[in-house]
């Protein structure tokens, strides 16, 4: 089954996200109109009922996140999509989904903030919000696509990871990848590998809904399947019922965090890093400019490479730590005032220079700007 079998289409990142969700088996979407993510809701409003799925435009962002969690508990693969201000509002129930271990996908097409900001302009200012947006310690998986093709494949991956880890997964797009149109190849349905939540193998009377397997992830019964269990955002024990002691909170939250930390292998693309003396670390749309800058630098004889975290959370710590032993400097271009750079500094441990390159004027960082920075630090 070669590439030739696949249908070539021209579409935007938001449209590709819709295709990815449908390939992943989405059966429920709840959302609220917000620029620049609205095309995802519009696409699924049209397509989902044709798959027997349900679309609902809720009264607000909070409600759409809540409805997604409810639908997932009832057994549907569920997603919502939003942008900055809406992502802020969803944090409450993203925390609930993390605590109650309900699989779901949250798309955030990042725009310029804070507040209403520049609604139609790109930014990457929500990197840290994706990590720490809801209160308390919690696990996070967040993926950052850099192309329209990847908007599709990472949407499928986001559903798979949500089901596998029983946790909300954030697809952290940006306005550039969301609205950019590119030719992509639609994968054939049979090429797509889908993962489903683990089901209990014990009869209902023996089911402990929050008793984890050795991988830290408990099997999940859907509401209506006959298991009759309790779900709460309070600290709970293996039975799912509230337990109020500090030690219960410690046990639960450590397991939630560790089930991702211990099992998830950070996703990263490395380009020409083997002999690199300078490593550019860039995500999302900025990584496209960065790749071009690396090529231009190589043409000038500069030993420069690119590290592109695909999973920004968990952050690819080991890749950066290992590179810090070899490279002279890291250049970290991002469309914010310095968020990814903090992670790079942390992982580099002072073993290599770390230089940020930041724009917050709603313009994509250009290859020339990155190249200039590379030349400065070489």
């Amino acid at each position: 089954m070669g590439e030739n079998d696949r249908q070539a289409v021209l579409m935007s990142g938001n449209e590709a996200c819709v295709e990815g969700a449908l390939l992943a088996g989405i059966r429920f979407f709840a959302g609220y109109p917000i620029t620049p993510s609205t095309e995802i809701a519009e696409g699924l409003a049209k397509r989902l009922p044709r798959y027997g799925g349900k679309f609902i435009q809720m009264e607000d962002e909070i409600a759409s996140m809540a409805a997604v969690v409810g639908a997932s508990l009832a057994g549907a693969k569920a997603m919502t999509a939003t942008s900055g201000p809406g992502f802020s509002l969803k944090q409450e129930n993203i925390g609930f989904a993390a605590m109650a271990e309900v699989p779901c996908v949250v798309v955030n097409v990042q725009r310029f903030g804070p507040s209403t900001g520049l609604p139609t302009s790109p930014a990457q200012g929500d990197i840290m919000q994706a990590r720490w947006g809801t209160h308390g310690d919690h696990p996070v998986i967040a993926l950052m696509p850099a192309s329209v093709q990847e908007c599709l494949t990472l949407t499928v991956e986001a559903f798979n990871l949500a089901e596998e880890y029983r946790t909300p997964v954030i697809l952290l797009m940006d306005e550039v990848v969301g609205h950019m149109r590119e030719g992509i190849l639609l994968p054939r349905k049979e090429e797509i590998v889908l993962k489903e939540r683990k089901k209990p193998t014990v009869p209902p009377e023996e089911y402990l809904p929050y008793k984890a397997d050795p991988d830290g992830i408990p099997p999940m019964a859907n509401f209506g399947d006959g298991y009759r269990y309790h779900v709460t955002g309070l600290v709970h024990d293996e039975t799912g019922f509230p337990r109020g002691r500090g030690i219960d909170g410690d046990r639960l939250v450590r397991r939630l965090v560790n089930k991702v930390k211990d099992n998830f292998v950070p996703m990263v693309e490395e380009y020409l890093t083997e002999d690199a003396e300078i490593a550019v670390v860039a995500c999302g749309s900025v990584a496209r400019s960065a790749k071009r800058a690396v090529d231009l630098g190589r043409e000038q004889g500069i030993k420069v490479g690119l590290v592109r975290p695909i999973s920004i959370w968990p952050f690819p710590e080991k890749v950066i730590r290992d590179l810090a032993e070899k490279v002279k400097a890291f250049v970290v271009p991002e469309m914010n005032l310095g968020q990814v750079v903090l992670e790079v500094e942390r992982c580099a441990c002072g073993k290599a220079g770390v230089y940020g390159l930041n724009r917050i004027d709603a313009e994509l960082i250009t290859p020339d700007e990155i190249l200039t920075k590379i030349q400065e630090v070489k």
């Binding site: 409600a63 809540a66 639908a71 009832a74 129930n93 009759r228």
Partner: protein, 273 residues
């Protein structure tokens, strides 16, 4: 059905006794909901109970169904997702006056507007009990609360009128004093296809009662008896006689297509294409 059998069939006995204060009316509402479920002969394996945050919202923890204790005010939004994803489930929402009328007010009016098939029971004790006695959108004017030390400046909602105007197709109000009527009102709400709403006026002797010098739990139940007027009797009384009273019984019934069924019609229609 005897109480023991009712409890054995529908409650998680091992979770009792409940956390509510002595004299609190919430247990009467829980008992009434269970009796209404039994009367309607709901399948315990196909019934989901959803709640928000507050004293009321601890009720599902004692109930032997799939139960979902959500975030503050959001029960109806979670329930909307459950119902749409799995329409064969009967979904009952248990909430409080602060939970559904303040922080959840937006979800309440929109669930009513959609006429989605959810049965909502509001435990209205006119106060935030879980946080120790702050005023809610249903605390009467001039009554006292820890955050209304000089008397409540706000005026309360008439929640039944609110959800009726928003589009609910079954609206009723009961009290924890009138238990047989309450069971009947909840049972009819469960039976109804569409958004059904039952406000239950209940007593909080610990906070609302104490702050407002309303006496013991029994005194508060007697207050409910004296101030609740059945809907038929109220129709014959002049407005001045109803000034300090509230009306109980079935207040509204409407006929409108139900949301999930309407959506299913779209799905079915597209199959033909």
């Amino acid at each position: 059905m005897a109480v023991k059998e009712l409890l054995a069939k529908y409650t998680r006995m091992e979770k009792l006794p409940h956390i509510w204060c002595a004299g609190c009316g919430h247990g009467i509402i829980l008992g009434s909901v269970l009796r209404a479920i039994q009367r309607q002969n709901l399948d315990p394996f196909k019934t989901t109970v959803v709640s928000g945050i507050g004293c009321s919202s601890r009720a599902p923890g004692y109930m032997k169904f799939d139960t979902l204790h959500t975030t503050h005010g959001r029960a109806l939004a979670f329930a909307t997702g459950v119902k749409l994803a799995r329409p064969e489930l009967k979904v009952i929402v248990l909430t409080g006056d602060g939970d559904c009328a303040a922080i959840g007010g937006n979800h309440l009016i929109h669930a009513a507007r959609r006429n989605i098939d959810l049965t909502t029971v509001v435990f209205n004790n006119s106060i935030y009990g879980m946080t120790s006695g702050q005023y809610s959108p249903l605390t009467p004017h001039k009554r006292y609360a820890t955050t209304a030390p000089y008397g409540n400046v706000d005026h309360p909602f008439d929640l039944c009128e609110l959800v009726k105007a928003a589009g609910a197709t079954y609206v009723a109000r009961g009290t924890v004093y009138h238990t047989q009527m309450l069971i009947d009102l909840i049972a009819k709400g469960i039976e109804h296809k569409g958004f059904s709403f039952i406000e239950v006026v209940t007593n909080c002797p610990t906070y609302f009662g104490r702050k407002n010098k309303m006496g013991s739990a029994v005194d508060m139940l007697n207050w409910l008896k004296e101030h609740a007027v059945p809907v038929k009797a109220a129709a014959k009384l002049p407005p001045e006689k109803l000034a300090d009273k509230f009306v109980i019984g079935e207040l509204h019934r409407g006929e409108r297509p139900e949301y999930v069924e309407e959506y299913q019609r779209i799905i079915d229609g597209l199959k033909g294409e």
